[in-house]
Symmetry: C2
Subunit: 265 residues, 2 copies
């Protein structure tokens, strides 16, 4: 039997809320099984860019990561946020180690190749991008990897990469060796049938349900890419995939499943 591994993704809203983050990290530290944390950004990068007068580049309504923006997200994600999360986890006896995709060549990305738009320093990844041997070795040392969403191309360039995708792809790559459960933690109770009613959680969303919900316009902008990444994981051998509320982590991992399960059928 494979060993259990949780891959847990958290986003910006949680990172920006110091009290909620501390509570979350305490719950995360109490997961007894092997675990990995993947974190996104938060407002700090945007605030800093504004303070420094760096304007956000947009082309056809899509955000571009120019060099100045890359420098900021590298500092904020891989430095400020990552090391603060690691220090907080260390304070609750969770032996965390912060890792970007460049470290130990763990995530080797390709610069996004788009026929019309140059997205700048944005890296796209697949399951093959992940150095799963290295991650397994780190886990064997009883360390808890904490990933920032910065990757590299092994040619000296760093990239900004979507954190939801990183979590999904890491979960997929480790599924040969571990019994992986991927958890997208966010500020909703799960996927909601009615976005204004927190008790309207849909317990299960299959690929078919996803398409139906999408066609019916029931999926708001933020949840769509999360669900796409969640489904990609479910399709590629990740044993369990859930979208859960951040405050429900402990309840969920202690076998009282919360939120929405994402499954193939």
């Amino acid at each position: 039997m494979k060993e259990k591994l949780f891959v847990v993704k958290i986003g910006g809203a949680l990172i920006d809320d110091e009290v909620l983050l501390k509570e979350f990290l305490t719950q995360f530290s109490q997961i007894k099984e092997k675990k990995i944390l993947v974190h996104g950004g938060g407002k700090l990068a945007t605030t800093l860019a504004n303070q420094l007068g760096i304007e956000q580049q947009m082309v056809d309504g899509r955000r571009i990561t120019d060099k100045a923006t890359l420098d900021i997200v590298t500092m904020v994600y891989a430095g400020g946020i990552n090391k603060n999360i690691v220090a907080k986890l260390q304070s609750v006896d969770c032996n965390a180690i912060g890792i970007s995709g460049a470290d130990a060549n763990v995530i080797q990305a390709k610069k996004r190749n788009h026929p019309q738009i140059d997205f700048g320093f944005v890296g796209d990844i697949t399951v093959e991008s992940i150095n799963r041997t290295l991650i397994s070795n780190v886990l064997k040392l009883n360390l808890v990897p904490v990933f920032s969403a910065i990757t590299h191309d092994k040619m000296g360039n760093l990239f900004n990469t979507n954190a939801d995708t990183i979590a999904s792809v890491i979960a997929q790559s480790l599924s040969d060796d571990f019994d992986v459960e991927l958890l997208y933690c966010f500020d909703k109770e799960g996927v909601l049938a009615d976005v204004n009613n927190s008790s309207s959680v849909i317990k299960k969303v299959s690929s078919e349900d996803f398409l139906a919900l999408k066609e019916a316009g029931k999926l708001h902008k933020g949840i769509l890419p999360k669900l796409e990444n969640a489904l990609a994981a479910a399709k590629n051998n990740v044993k369990k995939v859930y979208l859960i509320k951040e405050t429900q982590l402990q309840k969920h991992t202690e076998n009282n499943h919360a939120g929405t399960e994402i499954c193939l059928s």
Copy 2:
């Protein structure tokens, strides 16, 4: 016989010079023995603080690391500089992994305790601060640790710690397990008898020489703490300690010793 290990420290001036840094990292990547890099800061943190209107706090002429400054150095040192160095090393096939003192609880510091001055978020360390088992394990995975000068107290606080001291203390802590050579790389040819004459390199500086040079006022401000840290290493079982010019790294490590050797007698 113990395995050879180089602990190499680089400073701000090199980090700020992109061409020189690239050349240095290429030389560093070609060291065949086990190796560790420790890097300092550079101008970027000060530039950023100025741009953000964060004033440097001074008490009795000593610099204070307040919370705003700590946030900046954490971003710049552990994020921007560290990940750029790691990505550049990866591009020349050196399997680098960026590490701050909080990561894997590798360097546990104590907030500086001074009878008169509160230095803020400044962490002091001793040989006991270093998790040498973890560093050895990382080296066993054929990874090359790249340390930023950020430490933590395992109570959730990050600290700014002197990078020269980190290099010295890491070298000391690993000397039971490795045959360690500590190299302080800087922009001079070594310790100079005449600071204006680059060919006046003193080949060896002993503890006694150090005291004599210090009393004669021959040691300029920048080199004094470097020599103190170098001597501390020589006193605590580090096999070889040198101050060398950054461009001489390859020549030095390929057995044509350059610079100034620091030794007990």
